[in-house]
């Protein structure tokens, strides 16, 4: 990426509020699911967001793809905020970013045949003849490893891995520049995961697409992405290159996630370095949000939210008592 060239996708100071569950009028204090998050995805690269349930990562994914609108901040495509675009431009922008969903059993309409499913984005965009659409669908199916003969089948006749392939083909239909992948392999068997990850890598090489991968699984993020952000209760606590970040994290939450992840090595049980439960997003702790579960928390952590500091090239973390030395400001 050339210096000065705007990244493909950028989230700038994005926050998203939801109404607390109330009656029909939705009364109740708004819950801030995402809080002041900034993220840049350069074209052709893979960026990962890792965190546990309730951290806001799925919401972030939906904000990126346009399924939700931010309450604050903006989403920029190649430098231009989406809100500043005219209707036509916005519609075109939508086709540049597509989504791949977690649950292969819910991501495809059970009453549609595979060819219809893959064709749907092309029909929605318009401007392509039926014959051209058919041809494109067949090519896409071939690319993801679905035989042409399968195209007239229904999703229920396919395995989880095959359905995920169809989901990928559908996401690719409009030749997007970025695919937001929300837990793309979490619901799949271990051996099938490798197939899908290999496929995603191949497609990236072939079509120069970027990925924004959202997952709770550190090993997948570590393996696949070029840049990762660790999310907790709506904010990024640490971000940086996955190799370094997971080898030598600066933030205690990242450390806890690494320790807790079960490793297929006998005799090495998952370690619990943090205790307690996730605080409610409706009432996040003051100062550093992680302080209620952090083994290194002290008084200042409650008083003041830590500012992000640099720990290496592209490696940042927000912690008053990080695990390693920050670079001089």
């Amino acid at each position: 990426m050339n210096a000065g060239e705007a990244p493909l996708l950028e989230l700038v100071g994005v926050s998203k509020d939801y109404r607390g569950s109330g009656l029909w009028s939705g009364a109740g204090a708004p819950v801030r699911a995402v809080s002041g998050v900034s993220l840049a995805v350069p074209a052709g690269t893979s960026v990962g967001i890792v965190g546990e349930s309730g951290c806001g990562k799925s919401t972030l994914g939906r904000l990126a793809v346009g399924l939700e609108k931010p309450t604050e901040g903006d989403v920029r495509l190649r430098g231009t905020p989406v809100t500043a675009m005219g209707r036509r431009e916005r519609r075109a922008a939508r086709y540049e970013i597509q989504m791949m969903f977690q649950d292969p059993y819910a991501a495809l309409n059970p009453r549609m045949t595979l060819d219809r499913i893959i064709e749907e984005p092309l029909r929605a965009r318009g401007g392509i003849s039926r014959a051209d659409r058919r041809a494109r669908v067949r090519r896409l199916a071939d690319e993801v490893g679905i035989a042409a003969g399968q195209l007239s089948r229904y999703p229920r006749e396919l395995s989880g891995g095959q359905r995920q392939r169809v989901g990928l083909a559908r996401a690719l239909a409009t030749s997007p520049a970025l695919i937001v992948a929300d837990e793309p392999v979490s619901a799949l068997d271990v051996s099938v995961r490798s197939q899908i990850l290999n496929l995603m890598a191949d497609l990236q090489a072939e079509h120069h697409i970027g990925y924004l991968m959202v997952s709770h699984d550190l090993t997948v993020i570590h393996y696949f992405t070029d840049q990762v952000a660790v999310m907790y209760l709506g904010t990024f606590v640490e971000s940086g290159p996955p190799g370094e970040l997971f080898r030598a994290p600066a933030h205690h939450y990242t450390r806890a996630l690494i320790d807790a992840a079960p490793d297929p090595v006998p005799g090495r049980p998952a370690a619990t370095t943090i205790r307690g439960e996730l605080p409610s997003a409706a009432a996040p702790p003051s100062g550093c949000r992680f302080r209620t579960r952090c083994p290194a928390a002290r008084a200042v952590c409650a008083a003041q939210a830590p500012a992000p500091r640099a720990f290496g090239p592209g490696h940042q973390a927000a912690c008053h008592f990080p695990l390693k030395e920050a670079l001089p400001a």
């Binding site: 939801y18 109404r19 569950s21 029909w24 819950v31 699911a33 546990e52 349930s53 309730g54 951290c55 806001g56 990562k57 799925s58 919401t59 939906r62 793809v65 346009g66 399924l67 519609r91 939508r94 086709y95 970013i97 597509q98 989504m99 969903f101 977690q102 649950d103 059993y105 819910a106 991501a107 495809l108 309409n109 059970p110 009453r111 549609m112 749907e120 984005p121 029909r123 929605a124 965009r125 229904y154 229920r156 006749e157 395995s159 989880g160 989901g167 559908r170 409009t174 929300d182 837990e183 979490s186 619901a187 799949l188 068997d189 271990v190 099938v192 709770h216 997003a281």
Partner: protein, 303 residues
């Protein structure tokens, strides 16, 4: 509204059972239905009654236009399997003609109710928010009006004809399917394939048809069969109260009401045939509806 997808609530473990069942799901409901003997019997009865009413007159010719008072209220005998009614019409022929009207109005009204209800409910449920609120308050308000009174009012205002009856009955019956389909739409709109369609820029009406309504087809079918049964009863009730279609047209309800004047005269062939016909049809549609509901597994799983 949930803020997060819980990371893998269902792990990769997929029961062999579910996988196998899924694979056959396309034909499963049909096979499950045909295995239900009561439901199949109901279907047979419905077809038989349809044939009886519409094809019957081709084989059994009677004059259903001119009255012949000289032949009034004759008991069943040769050439008159069910006797004659109080103005001399052949009762069996009457049953066929009446059946045509009854079934036409019932199917027509059910169609109107289902189409209107489904469109209303699916739109309200999918769009949500203020529109949903408004649309469902309309439904609530109309539900508060006793249907029979509304029907009586409409039936007195509009000149009764088959088309009018269809519209009148349909317009009071669409409220229930509207509620049902709205509930389906509410649960379906969060499904990932609907979200996927949104990210693709598919427009709302297309999403409603292609994704919401097609995936509610089980509920819709089941409700439609119950609508037919209800419509028959409503038409019978209306005719009973004298607000049916003018003679020489008739329907089973009118025949029943007319025949009841003669209960104590012993002219059983004026009341039992239409009564039995009504009960049979309503029961048949009810068991078919139940069978469909079981076949689609609607009480437990959602398709």
């Amino acid at each position: 509204m949930s803020l997060e997808n819980v990371a893998t609530v269902r792990g990769p473990e997929e029961d062999a059972l579910a996988a196998q069942a899924d694979a056959a799901a396309g034909g499963v409901w049909l096979r499950a239905f045909t295995r239900n003997r009561l439901a199949v019997a109901g279907l047979v009865v419905i077809v038989a009654l349809l044939l009886f009413s519409f094809a019957g007159p081709l084989f059994y010719h009677t004059d259903q236009i001119h009255t012949r008072l000289a032949l009034e209220t004759l008991p069943p005998g040769t050439g008159r399997p069910l006797g004659t009614d109080d103005v001399g019409y052949d009762e069996l022929g009457r049953l066929m003609t009446g059946g045509q009207t009854t079934l036409e109005v019932a199917f027509g009204a059910a169609a109107v109710a289902v189409v209107l209800g489904v469109l209303w409910g699916a739109t309200a449920g999918y769009v949500g928010g203020l529109l949903d609120g408004l649309m469902m308050r309309v439904v609530d308000a109309l539900l508060a009006i006793p249907a029979l009174l509304l029907l009586l009012f409409l039936a007195t205002v509009f000149r009764p004809s088959v088309l009018m009856l269809i519209i009148v009955v349909g317009v009071t019956a669409w409220l229930v399917p509207a509620r049902l389909i709205r509930a389906e739409a509410l649960s379906l709109r969060g499904r990932e394939y609907v979200l996927a369609a949104k990210t693709m820029g598919v427009r709302a009406p297309t999403i409603i048809f292609r994704h919401i309504i097609t995936n509610s087809i089980g509920t819709i079918l089941v409700n439609a069969t119950f609508q037919v049964a209800d419509a028959i009863l409503v038409v019978a009730a209306l005719s009973f109260l004298g607000l049916g279609i003018a003679p020489p047209a008739t329907n089973w309800g009118a025949m029943l009401s007319g025949g009841l004047n003669y209960t104590f005269s012993g002219f059983w062939w004026l009341t039992y045939p239409p009564g039995v016909a009504i009960v049979l049809t309503v029961l048949a549609f009810n068991v078919v509806g139940d069978g469909l509901r079981d076949a689609f597994g609607l009480d437990t799983r959602h398709g």
